[in-house]
């Protein structure tokens, strides 16, 4: 009787042990696959300069990639973070379309249409803020566990560029989540202390290596958080960061400069941001990070479209980034309009 009991216990333990072994093998294999995707599949995807394609891919495939790898015990958090950043670009784009509809309707005094568009915009901003917050949380959870540091207080020592890139993009997503949640009328409840934490976290990565974005993003926080700009050269930091970005072929710092100018209602500086964006001499977009550069272009166009729609009623005319309706085209030097007409 006792013997049988012992055999039964042993048998059950064996099954459990084998099952646990299988699970661990599965987990190992899945994590290996995730690692492979991060190292070999993501880099060529970052070379694709089509934001629409990238964000649709991320939106459509997130459930499969996230659910599939998790089902086999993998930890796809960094991959999820990147997919969510990308997917948020899609919903944000749709929110901008609603915002432009609102601005046009408002200009035409079509109040119901404008109110409807505002509601539509807020709903899509809620979706966007939710994705961006998840991207930030996933990045933070994974990297804090991997590098044993405290986000916003201490710095990790990155082993690979992919982790560093996830840290940068996840942090920027966190900042965007704060802004978009407020614009959605706080439907998500994104913690606002992400802003000061991100500001400190961005000190951990090289400004020169990452297109001037870490310092430009810090300058965004300086310009909006009360008291944060004390002793800081906000606009000088943007200028230096844009220079770095222009040399490396990624103009994300320009977008941040434009965003900050709009947030404080500084129209001349906003126009300057768009002009500088449009007129970089001999600009060569980064090949390695073509997607980030394209995303910068898309967001800058959105900012410009808002400004145009608010003032003129249409989005930025094709090929007119950085040119404005109220600016006279200068006559070429040495030419006189009277001479031409005579």
């Amino acid at each position: 009787m006792i013997k049988a009991g012992i055999w039964r216990v042993l048998a059950i333990s064996g099954v459990v042990a084998v099952a646990a072994g299988c699970a661990s093998v599965e987990r190992g294999a899945t994590n290996l696959a995730i690692n492979l995707i991060e190292r070999r599949i993501i880099p060529p995807q970052l070379e694709i300069d089509d934001v629409d394609m990238a964000c649709r891919f991320a939106t459509a495939n997130f459930p499969l990639i996230s659910g599939g790898t998790r089902a086999f015990g993998g930890d796809p958090q960094l991959l999820e973070s990147l997919l969510l950043v990308s997917s948020a670009a899609c919903s944000e784009q749709r929110a901008v379309e609603e915002e432009l509809r609102y601005l046009r309707a408002s200009k035409q005094n079509n109040i119901e249409e404008a109110q409807d568009a505002r509601i539509g915009q807020k709903r899509l901003l809620e979706v966007t803020a939710r994705r961006q917050l998840r991207a930030y949380d996933a990045m933070r959870n994974k990297l804090e566990a991997k590098y044993n540091f405290q986000y916003g207080e201490t710095c990790p020592e990155f082993e690979r560029d992919f982790d560093e890139l996830s840290y940068l993009l996840g942090t920027v997503a966190g900042l965007q989540a704060v802004v978009n949640d407020i614009a959605s009328q706080q439907m998500v409840g994104v913690p606002t202390d992400i802003a000061p934490k991100s500001e400190r976290a961005l000190k951990c990565i090289s400004n020169a290596k990452w297109w001037g974005v870490p310092n430009a993003a810090r300058a965004v926080v300086w310009s909006i958080l009360p008291g944060a700009s004390e002793g800081k050269d906000v606009w000088g930091t943007f200028r230096l960061s844009m220079l770095i970005g222009e040399r490396q072929g990624v103009r994300l710092s320009h977008v941040m400069y434009g965003l900050s100018a709009l947030a404080v209602g500084d129209t001349p500086r906003f126009r300057d941001a768009t002009k500088r964006f449009a007129n970089v001499k001999d600009f060569k977009p980064s090949q390695q990070y073509a997607l980030v550069e394209s995303l910068s272009g898309a967001v800058m166009t959105n900012l410009s479209d808002r400004y145009w729609s608010e003032n003129v009623g249409t989005r930025t005319p094709v090929g007119s980034m950085g040119k404005y309706w109220d600016e006279e085209a200068a006559m070429p030097e040495g030419m006189n309009v009277d001479d031409l007409l005579n």
Binding site: Q186, G189, P191, T192, I224, G227, A263, G265
Partner: protein
């Protein structure tokens, strides 16, 4: 013949309608929001722009991160409307500006502040001021109140949980905004020393230990990381010093007749939207950070705040009529309060 009359009547009707619909002229609005165009107040103002179109105004919003500059621009006529906290709008309408009088909204029941009832007092006051009968009170000279919405209760954040009674405030350093006379009055009344501060540095002064106490709404807790200043020994006293509001003031001559009253009605209906933001912020503070004070001290605080606001009303900082109205509203939601049997503030 009948057809002709009908046509004439219809034509007249159209003409009358055209003359009744007010002409749209651009009005510039100076909006104070510490987060600029990306903040909650600016965002709520965007919805308001659409509603204002229906009331005959074509508003153009401009964001200011410095409240003083926004107010000065309004004063000098560079803007036609000001959206700012009651600290600044009180200068243009003392009645509405007295909503945030020290303790004027607080309802204390069984030695504890009843927060929902306290916000109910603010809501009823805003509703009362929104009505057309309040138009005279909401107009002072060329300035008119065109809306009031809640910004949340201001609580005391203390560096140490030992500061748990009125007496223990003596000798402590408290951050004080120079332009708010109520703060100075309170600080001197409890024997504490004021440390000059403003909205851009009071959080940092609390976090780095330059001051022992600040008064701030829950909305400041996360973005200013006030939990750093609280550390393990500090706390937020669950007893509002005042309930802050945002107010809209218009230059009457720049808006159609009746605009301000309709606009106040719009904002009174937006009260729940403002409360949602406040509730989110208050829920974002962990339970452990709050500190309730003993019932006996609640009574002491209530008396202290009442004496201070009566003193300030006598000095001209608050409007006595507004305090009278708020007392009646407090008593309408909490008849059992002993103050309701007295003539104080009436």
């Amino acid at each position: 013949m009948t057809m002709k009359i009908k046509a004439i009547t219809a034509a007249l009707g159209v003409a009358l309608m055209a003359s009744a619909s007010p002409a749209l002229a651009k009005q510039k609005v100076c909006v104070f929001d510490i987060l600029g165009a990306g903040g909650d107040v600016f965002n709520l103002s965007k919805d308001y722009v659409l509603a204002a179109k229906g009331l005959g105004a074509d508003l153009h919003l401009e964001a200011f991160t410095d409240e003083k500059i926004a107010s000065e621009n309004f004063k000098t006529g560079q803007c036609d409307m000001l959206v700012a906290t009651s600290f600044r709008t009180r200068a243009y309408n003392s009645v509405a500006g007295s909503i945030d009088a020290l303790g004027a909204a607080s309802v204390v029941k069984d030695g504890k502040v009843d927060m929902p009832l306290s916000y109910e007092v603010v809501k009823r006051t805003i509703q009362l001021f929104a009505g057309d009968k309040a138009d005279a009170l909401m107009t002072q000279g060329n300035y008119q109140v065109a809306g009031i919405f809640p910004f949340g209760a201001a609580f005391l954040y203390v560096k140490s949980r030992d500061i748990n009674s009125v007496e223990k405030l003596a000798g402590k350093k408290i951050a004080s905004f120079d332009y708010d006379s109520a703060q100075k009055e309170m600080i001197s009344k409890v024997g504490a020393s004021p440390v000059s501060a403003d909205i851009s540095n009071f959080g940092a002064k609390f976090n780095n230990g330059s001051v022992d106490i600040i008064a701030a709404p829950a909305a400041a807790y996360k973005p200013l990381e006030l939990y750093k200043g609280l550390g393990n020994s500090g706390a937020i006293i669950r007893f509002p010093v005042a309930v802050l509001t945002y107010q809209l003031i218009v230059n009457k001559s720049k808006f159609p007749e009746g605009f301000a009253q309709k606009s106040r009605d719009y904002w009174a209906k937006k009260f729940p939207a403002g409360m949602q933001i406040i509730t989110n912020a208050e829920k974002g503070i962990p339970n452990g950070a709050w500190m309730d004070i003993p019932a006996a001290d609640s009574v002491k605080y209530t008396i202290l705040l009442r004496e201070s606001r009566i003193g300030l009303a006598k000095g001209g900082s608050y409007d006595p009529k507004a305090l009278n109205i708020m007392k009646q509203i407090r008593c309408s939601v909490n008849r059992a309060d002993s103050e309701c049997a007295t003539k104080t503030e009436l």
